[in-house]
């Protein structure tokens, strides 16, 4: 019965196919004669051949839905990738950083494949079935969770940026990279899904003398950082979701710590252990590194929040104005963010920061998240020094480079949020420059 049925179907298919090929053969014949859409009309020189002719994709069948089970960007976008620079890497690229192509992003969400990536012992391939989280130390009830158990906790989703505190760090002494990707690409923004640590702790009984929490990774570097319990009991999360799917290995699969607004390094990836204690842990990445040395000879340790910051993403060295003509109305667009709160406003300067006008915010304006700003400008074809200056609802405003270096000197590596400037030449080229007194 079943066989008969399929035989019948095969015949039908076969008949349909014959008729289908008659049609496609006819179409092919047209294609051979010429791809012009206007038969018998000669295309003129001023006619755009891309309008006058049908391209391959306009008549040849595309690839089936069975290809690319996990979707891929168009091959034409192959130059939109994370990038590395030797200056910022260990010799083997396994204690290294890959910068996000923020010049190519739209909106505030970073696609997971482009999210900036930093590791201290390579990127591990962790079997989620063998992953465990241990919470111990100054809690009444220490706890071990499997991934499935962790994900049983009611979840929350939050949109936050993660920024390496060394973002822009190579430019304390002056600009070095004629590229926004390298000057500011150590950050990305995503929607994270996980559980507030305070909700787990509720049942574990945090002891009153607990002041600090160690978060430690289970990758080969076993990187640890100390977190004050204030943050743990405020908005610290353990997350497994990134923009709707599982964390990417580069972002800590299966689970990472997320401390909204704080140094990316504190958001420990490949998380395995949380230990509560009375005194801090002095882990390597909060002593040897991630401490900001001031000209006084003292270094800031436990430098938590990435301060208010902004960058114009269009134009930028990668996205110049060389195609504009005088009188064109063009959008100046950028990203603003603050690890201390929500962006309140952004100003734009055309003269390197001497005079300012207020830009418009656009889209979602969320705490500790990238925020888009916009300003419509009539292009005049004359040289400009473009700058942006963001402020947040904690009352902070971006310092000038002079103001910041007056306190921090030029050796502090981390937390550089001084006003950034682009030089726009008369030809519309864009260069990374700094304004200093």
């Amino acid at each position: 019965m079943r066989e008969e049925h399929s035989q019948h179907d095969a015949e039908n298919v076969s008949a349909e196919r014959r008729s289908f090929f008659k049609k496609t053969a006819a179409l092919s014949a047209t294609a051979i004669a010429g791809t012009s859409l206007l038969a018998g009309t000669k295309a003129m020189a001023e006619d755009d051949p891309f309008i006058m002719n049908t391209p391959d994709w306009g008549h040849k069948i595309g690839y089936p839905v069975t290809k690319n089970r996990y979707g891929m960007p168009s091959p034409y976008e192959h130059n939109v990738t994370r990038r590395n620079a030797k200056l910022l890497s260990s010799g083997n690229w396994q204690a290294s950083i890959a910068m996000c192509p923020i010049q190519d992003l739209s909106g505030i969400m970073t696609p997971n494949g482009l999210f900036f990536s930093r590791c201290h012992g390579g990127i591990p391939t962790i079997n989620p079935n063998e992953w465990r989280l241990m919470i111990h130390g100054l809690v009444e009830k220490p706890l071990v969770l499997t991934l499935d158990q962790l994900k049983r906790y009611p979840n929350v989703s939050r949109i936050h940026f993660v920024e390496c505190p060394a973002n822009g760090g190579p430019e304390w002494r002056g600009p070095q990279f004629n590229s926004i990707q390298f000057a500011k690409g150590m950050m990305s923004n995503a929607e994270w899904t996980g559980v507030y640590i305070k909700d787990i702790l509720k049942d574990l009984g945090l002891k009153p003398n607990a002041r600090w929490m160690l978060a430690e990774g289970i990758d080969s570097s076993h990187m640890g950082r100390t977190v004050p319990v204030d943050k743990v009991l405020d908005d610290a999360m353990i997350v497994w979701g990134q923009n709707g799917e599982a964390l990417r290995p580069e972002q800590g699969y299966p689970v990472r710590l997320l401390l909204p607004g704080w140094e990316g390094n504190l958001c420990v990836k490949w998380l395995g252990r949380l230990e509560f204690a009375e005194e801090p842990f002095y882990a390597k990445e909060e002593t040897a590194k991630y401490t900001a040395l001031k000209p006084t000879g003292k270094a800031i340790q436990h430098f938590y929040a990435n301060e208010v910051n902004s960058i114009i993403t269009s134009p930028c060295p990668e996205k110049p104005w060389t195609d504009l003509k005088k009188g064109d109305l063009v959008e100046i667009e950028g990203l603003a963010w603050s690890g201390m709160g929500t962006i309140e406003g952004v100003d734009i300067s055309f003269d390197g920061g001497n005079n300012w006008v207020e830009a418009k915010l656009k889209g979602l304006v969320l705490p500790k998240s990238w925020t888009r700003f916009s300003f419509l400008y009539k292009y005049e074809g004359k040289p400009l020094i473009l700058a942006s200056r963001a402020r947040d609802d904690a009352g902070y405003i971006q310092p000038t480079i002079d103001q910041e270096t007056a306190v921090m000197g030029v050796e502090s590596v981390y937390h550089r949020n001084g006003i950034a400037t682009w030089e726009v030449t008369a030809e519309g080229k864009v260069n990374n420059v700094q304004v200093r007194s």
Binding site: D9, R18, F21, A25, K60, P64, T66, Y76, N79, R83, K86, L87, G91, A95, D104, H120, K141, L145, G174, F182, Y196, D199, K202, D203, N209, R211, S220, H222, D230, K231, L233, D234, G272, E275, P280, F281, Y282, A283, K284, L293, P295, G297, Q301, H302, G339, G352, G353, N354, W356, P367, D393, A394, Y396, I397, T400, V407, V410, Q434, V435, R436
Partner: protein, 407 residues
């Protein structure tokens, strides 16, 4: 953006109950103040109706937010812009289990000033041998560094503390030295990091004695002393001596993070923007909009440009170059995908399915001359040359490709 009204908070009982931070003006005593943040601050006025930046930078217990930023309380089931299910915060979850004593021991690898490393011992000489075998390839001779890996010593640690005030304001200036000996505040960090994070390609493989010996060797390279005794070649480092190490730059860090007042010290530090190079304004009106710069302001261009990027910086929208390592005829592959896969790509179309070894063995069994001839002239439901307009040899290549991928 989310300025809140403290009167409003009082009215929002769900919010007050959900917030782990005790409300500064709430009477209810059940809210758990974060440990170490001390008692709820008294005297916080509840009559403030509109919060200033200052009010926003406090928790519900009146204490300043630890990082100098804003605290968003839950108001009317919203925290900032996000709706929240405040029931979630009540606890009552029983997931997971208590770790066993052995599991706790296995994972509690912490080594800190208050949690000494396990017992063991090693000499400088032994450390040098381990170093030469497992560390020198990255960290260089005598810890000199190189190849993107950190130096472990730059000479006498006590002398080098002085360099921490150096600033490379011009290329001729010497910069500060920041290696273990003269910069790190605690020796426990070194022991812990070597045990857990080194050697880089194969961590957690050194014995405790080897770690003691490496620490001794690195102390020696930094010309350091323990309890007044120089760490010479035959120095035997053990747990007791390790506990006595005092790092020369122990006091070189701010804010204070030790002791019962540590968290208050941290919050006081970040409450003062002058400590960390930040700029604060009382209101948006206070910011400078015109003639903001000193007359000496000038544009500094890039002097030494960094250009070594991987992959090279490019904004061109073209197709990537395909590396044909498999020896496949890419033109034929392309034709297959655009013209033949319609029928040969899936079962049920009557055509031999691409990759189906059995089906294609039967086709090839007819002899290649027949196969080419059928393909070029059409067979069954297949039109001549599959409906393409390729020359014979090009179309034969497509057939060859399909057969080669179905073996």
């Amino acid at each position: 953006m989310f300025k809140f009204d403290r009167k409003f908070i009082l009215g929002a009982s769900a919010a007050a109950a959900a917030a782990l931070f005790a409300a500064g003006c709430a009477e209810s005593g059940d809210a758990a103040a974060p440990a170490g943040t001390g008692a709820v601050a008294a005297g916080k006025s509840c009559a403030v109706s509109v919060a200033s930046y200052n009010d926003q930078r406090s928790y519900m217990n009146g204490k300043k937010v630890i990082d100098g930023g804003v605290y968003y309380p839950v108001i009317s089931n919203k925290r900032g812009p996000y709706y929240v299910n405040t029931d979630i915060d009540n606890g009552g979850y029983a997931y997971g289990r208590t770790p066993t004593a052995n599991e706790l021991k296995a994972w509690d690898t912490t080594v800190t000033p208050w949690h000494l490393p396990p017992e063991g011992e090693g000499t400088v000489e032994e450390g040098e041998a381990v170093y030469e075998a497992k560390c020198v390839m990255c960290h260089g001779d005598f810890g000199s560094g190189g190849g993107g890996y950190p130096a472990l010593s730059k000479g006498n640690a006590y002398d080098n503390v002085k360099t921490l005030k150096y600033q490379r304001t011009t290329p001729d200036h010497e910069g500060p030295i920041r290696v273990f000996g003269n910069y790190w505040p605690e020796a426990s960090t070194l022991w812990w990091y070597i045990k857990e994070g080194m050697p880089h390609p194969d961590t957690r493989t050194l014995t405790e004695d080897e770690v003691y010996s490496l620490v001794a060797y690195i102390l020696n390279l930094n010309e350091m002393e323990i309890d007044g005794v120089p760490v010479d070649e035959d120095y035997v480092l053990d747990q007791e001596k390790f506990a006595k190490i005092v790092m020369p730059n122990k006091d070189g860090f701010e804010p204070n993070i030790e002791g019962a007042n540590a968290l208050d010290d941290v919050r006081a530090y970040y409450d003062n923007p002058a400590n960390f190079g930040a700029q604060k304004i009382a209101s948006a009106d206070e910011r400078c909009m015109h003639d903001c710069q000193k007359p000496t302001a000038k544009v500094a261009p890039i002097k030494i440009e960094q250009k070594e990027f991987l992959p090279p910086l490019s904004e061109v929208r073209d197709l990537p170059e395909v590396e044909n390592t498999a020896g496949v005829d890419l033109e034929a592959k392309n034709t297959y995908e655009s013209s033949c896969a319609v029928c040969h790509g899936a079962a049920g179309m009557g055509a031999p399915v691409f990759g189906d070894k059995k089906a294609w063995a039967a086709v090839v069994g007819k002899g290649m001359d027949t196969v080419y001839s059928n393909a070029i002239n059409g067979v069954g439901g297949m039109p001549p040359k599959g409906g393409t307009d390729l020359p014979d040899d090009k179309f034969k290549a497509v057939v060859d490709y399909m057969i080669s991928q179905s073996k």
